[in-house]
Each structure stands twice: as structure tokens, then as C-alpha cells.
Symmetry: C2
């Protein structure tokens, strides 16, 4: 996973409406939901919704399929997992406290890196 992809996904998630869309799609499981249904559920204009869905789509966080005149959106679980995997391991060194919190416990902490840099303050 390249960092640019992760940044695109984080940007896409970092918006109230889009996080609501993700939440809604997640609650629908593999069934997904069509644009009109999402708009009705969240009280969005068609145009505004389309804008946000397009953001989620270009970040790879959702998948789209045409069904007649409707467009059905589903969450892309693989991409979401990949993004979190990247941040947790590549950016946070699998720190036990972070892992512990975001897993709600019950998971063996992964080994940490702490590559022997000795740079204190003034360098």
C-alpha cells in the first residue's frame, strides 16, 4: 500500500457526511445501498451526495455497480482494512497501546521496532 493511497483514504474519511455514509453502508453489509436511499437516509441533495460518493470512490473506499437507473454502493472492506493496517504498522510501529485500544483488547501485542536512533534534542 502506497502512502498516497492512504492519504487519499484518510482525506475522504475526514468529513462528517462521508463518515456517515461509511457508517450507513457498513450497517448494510454486502447488500450495500443505492444513491437515492443514501440521500434519503442522510437528508442530502442528490448533487451533494454524488460529490461525496465520488470522493469515497476515488479513494477506493467504496465500490459501485449500476442496477438499472440506480447506482448501488458498497463498502470496500479490503481497502479500509489496508488503510488502517498501514497507519497502525507503518506509521505507529504497531504500538501495543494503540493496537490494544483499537481492538478492544484480547489480542497479543505485536513486537515493536524502536530502531536504535539516539538523536536526542539538539542533534
Amino acid at each position: 500500500m502506497e502512502q498516497s493511497r492512504v492519504l487519499a483514504a484518510l482525506s475522504a474519511l475526514a468529513h462528517d457526511t462521508r463518515l456517515e455514509i461509511v457508517r450507513l453502508l457498513s450497517s448494510r453489509g454486502g447488500e450495500g445501498m443505492c444513491a437515492g436511499g443514501i440521500a434519503r437516509h442522510l437528508g442530502l441533495s442528490a448533487s451533494a451526495l454524488s460529490f461525496h460518493l465520488s470522493a469515497l470512490d476515488s479513494a477506493g473506499l467504496v465500490q459501485v455497480n449500476r442496477e438499472g437507473r440506480n447506482m448501488r454502493y458498497r463498502l470496500n472492506h479490503a481497502e479500509l482494512g489496508g488503510v488502517f493496517a498501514y497507519v497502525l504498522s507503518d506509521c505507529c510501529g504497531n504500538h501495543p497501546e494503540i493496537r490494544g485500544r483499537c481492538l478492544g483488547g484480547g489480542c497479543e501485542p505485536a513486537p515493536q521496532d524502536h530502531s536504535g536512533m539516539s538523536n536526542t534534542c539538539p542533534g
Copy 2:
């Protein structure tokens, strides 16, 4: 954890430079790093760095302590974990595939919600 806090954190993370800062601070563990050291490591101007550190700080992702003329920054592991916990559980229903990917395997999948909404397409 309120959604507004999560959105602030995601926005803060969704920037190349700031993700690099997080990665660097993570590699330093509890020792953290002072602003000057970070700037030198990442080749940033003092002003640019301060801008990004302030963004991370107001999102609660780092903690700061003065040490003489230096400001030492450390990662806030609790907040990072809380943010991911929120997205994974509150927004993604602890979906097994997402959890599985971001854990690199080795964790029992959590139960899922799928609250019985039956809204198909045209609603």
C-alpha cells in the same frame, strides 16, 4: 469519543508531512523528539513544521513539553488508538475483514451488527 474529535484526528493525519511526523515520533517511542530535530529530519522550515505540529496538537494526537528552549513532542497513543477504535467499531461495525486486515491476522473476529434494515433500492 465524539465524532468531531475523530474527524479532527483524521483531518490531521490526512497530510503527507503530518503522517511523516507521526511516523518519526512513533519510531522514537516515549522519548519523543524536539521540534528542531523533527525539522532537521524531515527537511522542513521551522514555520512549516510548527504549523503542522500545531495541527497534530489541536487534534490531540501529540503531547508537548517544554525543555529549556526546546519543545519536546511525543505521540499520544491513547488518542490514536481511540480514533481507530471509533472508526473500526462505530463506523465499520467491526467487520471481520477490516479487522483481519488491520491486525495482520491472529485475532478473533468480533460479532457484527447488521441491524435488520430491509431498505432495498427505491425505498
